[in-house]
């Protein structure tokens, strides 16, 4: 998985609680992405980062926030979890210095909001 870890790998939480997912990379890649994957919807971009402290919204950013204080870590926070946020969350990284647009994915976090 290209030096990408995600934690936790599985989480069950209750509606209304905050949840933070962590993505950690050892590749020193500049770009990091958070996606959610749901049946029938494919992969949808939540937020992405193009450098430390530089982030931007994706197509489904409502209810999510992110932070990137170090190159290697990109955190996704569900401010107040809802059942509609039950999903599989993937982190991806991309290296702009090589001119490649390839995104490499982590193993995913399966989140269940009850």
């Amino acid at each position: 998985d290209a030096g990408i870890t995600q934690s936790p790998r599985h989480k069950v939480t209750e509606t209304g609680t905050p949840v933070t997912l962590r993505c950690h990379q050892t590749e020193n890649h500049r770009y990091m992405y958070w996606y959610r994957q749901d049946p029938g919807h494919g992969l949808r971009l939540i937020h992405y980062s193009y450098g430390v402290k530089d982030t931007d919204k994706g197509e489904v950013s409502d209810g999510y926030s992110v932070s990137r204080s170090k190159t290697e870590d990109f955190l996704l926070t569900l401010e107040s979890a809802t059942s509609s946020q039950t999903s599989v969350y993937f982190c991806a990284i991309s290296d702009s210095t090589s001119g490649s647009e390839t995104q490499y994915f982590g193993p995913g976090t399966r989140l269940l909001v009850l």
Binding site: Y31, L43, Y48, F90, S94, E101, F105, P107, G108
Partner: protein, 110 residues
């Protein structure tokens, strides 16, 4: 708005057959078109990719055909094997972001 339309949603092929998955896009600013393969419980992994100045790219049993004028591209899997059973996603790149198709679930029967 679905900017990358992928078909079929599911596909069943016999071992040794050819699997064909199609994608169509609208935005002419897209500059890179990858295909990803995903097995259950795993993250997507890059399979093969093409740029719009090339009409075809082949890597082993996998070939991308690209038609710039029609704004379409397709993945061909020759001599399909049971191990190819997975979900396949096409995507298109613009401005450091990928726009994804909805995926095709491929089952190769032994």
């Amino acid at each position: 708005q679905q900017q990358v339309k992928q078909s079929p949603q599911s596909l069943i092929v016999q071992k040794g057959g050819i699997s064909i998955i199609n994608c169509a896009y609208e935005n002419t600013a897209f500059d890179y078109f990858p295909w990803y393969q995903q097995f259950p419980g795993k993250g997507p992994a890059l399979l093969i990719a093409i740029r719009p100045d090339v009409s075809e790219k082949k890597e082993g049993r996998f070939t991308i055909s690209f038609n710039k004028s029609a704004k379409q591209f397709s993945l061909h899997i020759m001599d399909s094997q049971p191990g190819d059973s997975a979900t396949y996603f096409c995507a298109a790149h613009n401005n450091r972001k990928l726009i994804w198709g909805l995926g095709t679930s491929l089952a190769v029967n032994p």
